[in-house]
């Protein structure tokens, strides 16, 4: 909402306040100042006394101007649109103007092509008064030279009023608030709750209220008006806050709205057939509004109608063919109260919003309706002539106004936590127009937001400010929650992955239908993805069931920007729906690796591509002991494996890992193998949660034996590892695979075989092993190996 400083001055004298101080006053009232339009200092009205051609520049003129000091001032000027004698804005040296793009520049005395120029004459654009302008801004000839421009174009504040304060949606409302905070008197009335016009209940043929959405409606008939342009003062007021003057009657309703916050409407009485009916619209009823558009109405919309048709959408907008035009003679002035919900619903449904609907939606003061009608009538009679009916026609009831609120000052102090004296509390509330009556406070009719004790506490806290309240630093102890444990565990994983060369990614959790196909690394049996009812677009209509789709999109984007060696991880929520339609949220951790194993450098000029074994290394680094990759059939990955922790009955599946199908990788511009894994964080944390116990270090040396064997090419190394793991020989401590050799050419060994070499460590915890004991144990093991796998030793 735009509020003109000059207009506020009608109500409160703020002449000694700087704009900055007013900005602060508003801000600490809880009214956000979104912008201030104001002209700078050192900018005055000047009259052009003479103009001659510049001796050295074709396009420039040398002017002598009167800046109000009585001494002519020389200005070099490039504009052509003026005549000698015109009055124009003049920026004197020291004046700071906006040079566009937020950059300020200061006017200085200088020379233009060798001729002294002691200031700058300005266009409307240069002063920020118009987006575009040709030549100098020519001012009204009545203005006196030397008058500061800021007096002609006063500051205008763009204010954001919070929804709980509809009483501030007017100049009077803002002035009332500021006067209370600045402890200044209001010049005129505090509100329009009083009216001296006699009221007459309207007959059913005059005003008929058919809907609860309008509990109170008044009409004032004024005959014999003359529709014409408004006087200068009124036009200037409206223009100062960005409203376009139309004619005196419309301008008065707009002015009164901005002055009091009460919307009004004027009908051309000649265009109304019969009395006013306030009713719900009929289904399919159409309405041509003032904005020239036709709206199709629905039964939940409220209309003001005559005997024939709707002439206004209640509280939102009048009709095109019932409004005031030049030929209008008799008018009906409508002042009413419409329920906020109805106006809001209609406005939203039709996408139709107006200054009126904005105020009705937030709530106007019903008790002010009659008083504002009287105020507007008086203005109409003054500015448009005519005669008003002696009585105000009234239908319905304006209600009783807000109920008194009880406030225990101890309660107030208890909430605020400061020893604010009774006198301060009472003083603040009284300054806001509340009246104390015993333990209760009488609430002014315009303060619709004050209904509970806490509402009064808010007023005290707001006006008192937090500045003067002590800052307490007491705390209670809190035990760690499940969320704390999960957070700490994730932080551990994040740090570990970062040290393993992974960058943490964060993708939007909303993905497209097509991206669902990229959810390779999760298996949600019997679950379905969760779809939004009202997505923004079809790129973001599903909630991700897994993280890998987002990581693939990130990888693809990176590769297109030339970052082809990628290690990314992401942790966060994923979403699926059960067969019953119940949404389930899980925390997942996903990894993506593609490109070279290391960075190309002088130590490794041709780094090799990452493969599944790198992925396994990372998984082992972040998973607790007992990690198993079990070939899985339910993944659409190549080399898909279920990631399990533990073996046998204790095995817990925590996720999936593998290679993205190359065809999909190519579609995403990803060339090298793309390795991905996705793990369930909660399961991973559960598996990791084992107690760590110290084990004694071996006291005696061990003895190792290497064994190389030829096995079928398709025998998984894991089968041999499992054999050693399960082999019952108390002296065998470990078996490490240290060599894998194949020869596709068949020269050194058959092409369908491979050679695996293990290093076996034997140790006796109680004594140093004799060589013979090792040989015996090792021999038995080799026999068993041969029997089990039919291996050939090399």
């Amino acid at each position: 909402m735009k509020v003109s400083l000059q207009w506020l001055g009608d109500h409160v004298d703020f002449s000694e306040y700087s704009i900055q101080r007013l900005d602060e006053l508003l801000t600490f009232a809880g009214i956000e100042v979104e912008g201030i339009e104001s002209l700078p200092d050192h900018l005055v009205v000047a009259q052009i006394l003479s103009s001659e051609k510049h001796p050295d520049a074709e396009k420039l003129s040398v002017c002598q101007v009167d800046d109000g000091t009585g001494k002519p001032r020389q200005i070099v000027c490039g504009a052509k649109n003026y005549q000698v004698g015109d009055k124009v804005p003049l920026a004197l040296p020291g004046c700071v103007l906006d040079g566009g793009g937020g950059k300020a520049f200061t006017i200085q005395e200088g020379k233009l092509r060798g001729v002294d120029s002691l200031g700058m004459m300005c266009s409307a654009k240069e002063l920020g008064l118009a987006a575009d302008a040709d030549g100098l801004l020519i001012l009204s000839p009545e203005l006196k030279a030397g008058t500061p421009m800021s007096e002609i174009y006063p500051a205008v504040f763009e204010l954001e009023i919070t929804p709980n304060r509809p009483d501030c949606l007017s100049h009077l409302g803002v002035a009332r608030e500021l006067a209370a905070l600045a402890k200044k008197p209001l010049k005129g009335r505090l509100h329009f709750g009083e009216s001296t016009t006699p009221v007459r209940p309207a007959g059913a043929d005059e005003v008929l209220l058919e809907s609860e959405a309008c509990p109170y409606y008044t009409a004032r008939i004024i005959r014999g008006v003359k529709v014409t342009d408004s006087p200068v003062w009124l036009r200037q007021k409206l223009e100062s806050i960005g409203l376009r003057p139309i004619n005196n009657l419309v301008d008065i309703t707009n002015y009164v709205l901005m002055e009091t916050g009460q919307p009004l409407h004027v009908f051309d009485l000649a265009k109304l057939e019969g009395g006013i009916v306030v009713r719900q619209a009929a289904a399919g009823e159409t309405f041509l509004a003032l904005d020239g558009k036709e709206y199709e109405l629905a039964p939940e919309d409220l209309v003001i109608a005559d005997a024939q048709r709707a002439v206004a959408i209640g509280g939102v907008m009048g009709g095109e063919d019932s409004g005031v035009v030049e030929t209008t003679v008799d008018v009906l002035l409508e002042a009413a109260y419409f329920n906020p919900q109805g106006v809001r619903r209609t406005g939203r449904r039709l996408g139709l919003h107006s200054d009126s609907s904005y105020r009705f939606e937030r709530g106007v003061d019903p008790l002010q309706v009659a008083g504002v009608s009287e105020f507007a009538t008086k203005l109409i009679l003054e500015l448009a002539g005519g005669t008003a009916d002696p009585e105000l026609l009234v239908a319905g009831c304006a209600g009783e106004g807000p109920k008194p609120v009880e406030l225990d000052n101890d309660y107030c102090r208890r909430i605020i936590g400061a020893e604010i004296p009774d006198t301060t509390i009472d003083g603040i509330l009284a300054s806001l127009g509340l009246e104390k009556a015993g333990l209760f406070w009488k609430i002014p009719s315009y303060r619709l937001d004050l209904a509970r004790p806490i509402d009064l506490v808010e007023e005290v806290a707001r006006v008192h400010g937090l500045e003067g309240i002590p800052a307490a630093t007491k705390a209670t102890f809190s035990p760690a929650s499940k969320a704390d444990e999960a957070y700490d565990y994730l932080r551990f994983l994040q740090d570990r992955l970062a040290s393993l060369g992974f960058h943490e990614a964060r993708n939007l959790k909303l993905i497209s239908d097509a991206q669902l196909e990229d959810d390779f690394a999760t298996s949600h049996r019997g679950m379905s993805p969760v779809r939004l009812k009202n997505p923004l677009n079809d790129e973001q209509d599903y909630l991700r069931p897994g993280i890998v789709p987002g990581l693939l999109a990130s990888a693809s984007r990176n590769v297109r920007f030339g970052n082809s060696n990628l290690r990314l991880f992401e942790a966060g929520r994923v979403f699926v729906a059960s067969m019953k339609g119940e949404e389930i949220e899980h925390e997942h951790l996903a990894l993506l690796m593609t490109g070279a194993r290391g960075l190309r450098s002088w130590t490794d000029s041709k780094p090799t591509a990452l493969d599944v074994h790198d992925l396994r290394a990372v998984l082992e680094a972040i998973c607790p002991d007992g990690l198993n990759l079990v070939p899985a059939s339910d993944g659409r990955l190549l080399s898909a494996c279920a990631v399990e922790i533990g073996t046998g009955k204790k095995a817990m599946k925590i996720g999936m890992a593998g290679i993205v199908p190359p065809s999909r990788a190519r579609e995403l511009d990803l060339g090298a193998p793309v390795l991905v894994a996705e793990l369930n964080l909660k399961k991973l944390m559960a598996a990791a949660k084992s107690e760590i116990r110290h084990a004694d270090l071996p006291k005696f040396p061990g003895s190792s034996r290497d064994v190389a064997m030829l096995v079928p090419g398709d025998l998984p190394a894991g089968d041999l590892a499992a054999f050693f793991e399960g082999y019952e020989e108390p002296l065998l401590i470990s078996a490490e695979l240290f060599d894998v050799f194949t020869d596709p050419s068949g020269a050194k060994l058959a092409s369908d075989k491979k050679s695996l070499a293990f290093s076996l460590l034997y140790r006796d915890p109680e004594k140093t092993l004799e060589s013979a004991e090792v040989e015996t144990a090792h021999g038995k093991l080799l026999d068993s190996l041969k029997r089990t796998f039919n291996v050939e030793f090399r």
């Binding site: 809001r344 939203r348 936590g417 969760v530 009202n534 979403f575």
Partner: protein, 339 residues
């Protein structure tokens, strides 16, 4: 004999002084101290030395042996030192490092973690709640009017079954109070969603950090102290900030917190950084109604709540100009936060 020993010593020391490598060192050792070495041979001649001279010659023999042995050791050490020096001389320390893997955390994680560390020192525990929420948890219980614009389908993502994507982490306040009895002192970081088209300053999903403290006699003064301490820890002890009265449906009184931002080359300006206030009694009443007990009787407990946007915090702390950078995951961007 004494002369002979003196000659051997002179010869040996001269030979050792001329040593250049391990081979010549070993040859010298053999030539003097070896089985057939000259000193060994001289020692064998001891038996021919007259008895009255044996003591003197014996002493001389030992002196010579020690002198040669120690010269040998010096020469050997000298050789090793030369070799070491040669080895070091071949190192070019100006060569670039052998690369180690370089990863890092997302800037939002860094900002969140800093905030969490500070708030944990202040006794807050973490809490969480679902991102797919009921309208009751997201709006009704938070005292939001039935026709509040935030509930519009144009502003909030809904599902066919009437649930929605939470529009703020404030729903975790309700989730926590449903389960726990006071005192409750929690922070809840998490995602929230609004139906905004994505541009430099809007994302359809963003990150918030919610705080809630409910106990007997929690006051506005506690809220002020908590947030002042928090922001001074985050932005430095000289940070200027202000509490500006504001309105939220679920707190009363409500404030917004601004900090004064001093960006290079620009006039300092106030930047909104958090919303906060005292929990509205209507919120406690609604929670109490759902719980069916008096644990949150507004006559017995009071509380404060605050919420801040982590994306905005990251933009301010790191000077990030465009929110989209936070979701594009360009490694050239992510690398900047390795710290």
């Amino acid at each position: 004999m004494l002369d002979q020993l003196a000659t051997i010593q002179t010869e040996a020391l001269a030979a050792l002084a001329a040593i250049t490598d391990e081979t010549s060192l070993e040859e010298a050792r053999i030539a003097f101290l070896g089985k057939k070495g000259s000193l060994t041979a001289a020692a064998a001649g001891m038996r021919d030395v007259p008895v009255d001279q044996k003591k003197e010659v014996g002493q001389k023999l030992n002196e010579v042996r020690e002198a040669i042995t120690s010269a040998l050791e010096v020469a050997a050490a000298d050789l090793i030192a030369k070799k070491d020096a040669a080895a070091f001389a071949s190192i070019d320390p100006t060569l670039p490092a052998r690369p180690l893997p370089e990863g890092g955390l997302h800037p939002l994680t860094l900002v969140l973690d800093e905030a969490v560390r500070v708030l944990r020192r202040m006794g807050f525990a973490l809490a969480e709640g679902p991102e797919i929420e009921t309208e009751w948890h997201c709006f009704d219980a938070l005292n939001t009017p039935a026709d509040h614009p935030a509930r519009n389908e144009s502003d909030t993502f809904y599902f066919e079954n009437g649930k929605l994507l939470r529009t703020h982490t404030s729903s975790v306040q309700i989730r926590t109070m449903e389960k726990e009895v006071p005192p409750v002192r929690i922070i809840a970081p998490g995602s929230a969603f609004r139906r905004d088209e994505i541009d430099a300053t809007h994302l359809s999903a963003f990150h918030q950090l919610e705080g809630l403290y409910v106990d007997q006699r929690v006051t506005l003064s506690d809220l002020k102290g908590t947030l002042e301490y928090f922001f001074r820890e985050i932005f430095g002890s000289k940070t200027e900030f202000r509490f500006r009265p504001h309105f939220f449906p679920f707190t009363e009184p409500s404030f917004e917190v601004d900090i004064k931002l001093h960006a290079a080359g620009r006039a300092a300006k106030w930047i909104e950084i958090a919303g906060c206030g005292m929990v509205d009694p209507a919120v406690f009443s609604e929670v109490g109604r759902k719980r069916g007990d008096a644990a949150y009787d507004p006559d017995r407990v009071t509380g404060f709540a605050f919420g801040m946007g982590l994306d905005r915090l990251a933009m301010i702390m790191y000077g990030i100009p465009d929110l989209r950078l936070l979701i594009e995951n360009d490694v050239r961007f992510l690398q900047q936060f390795r710290g």
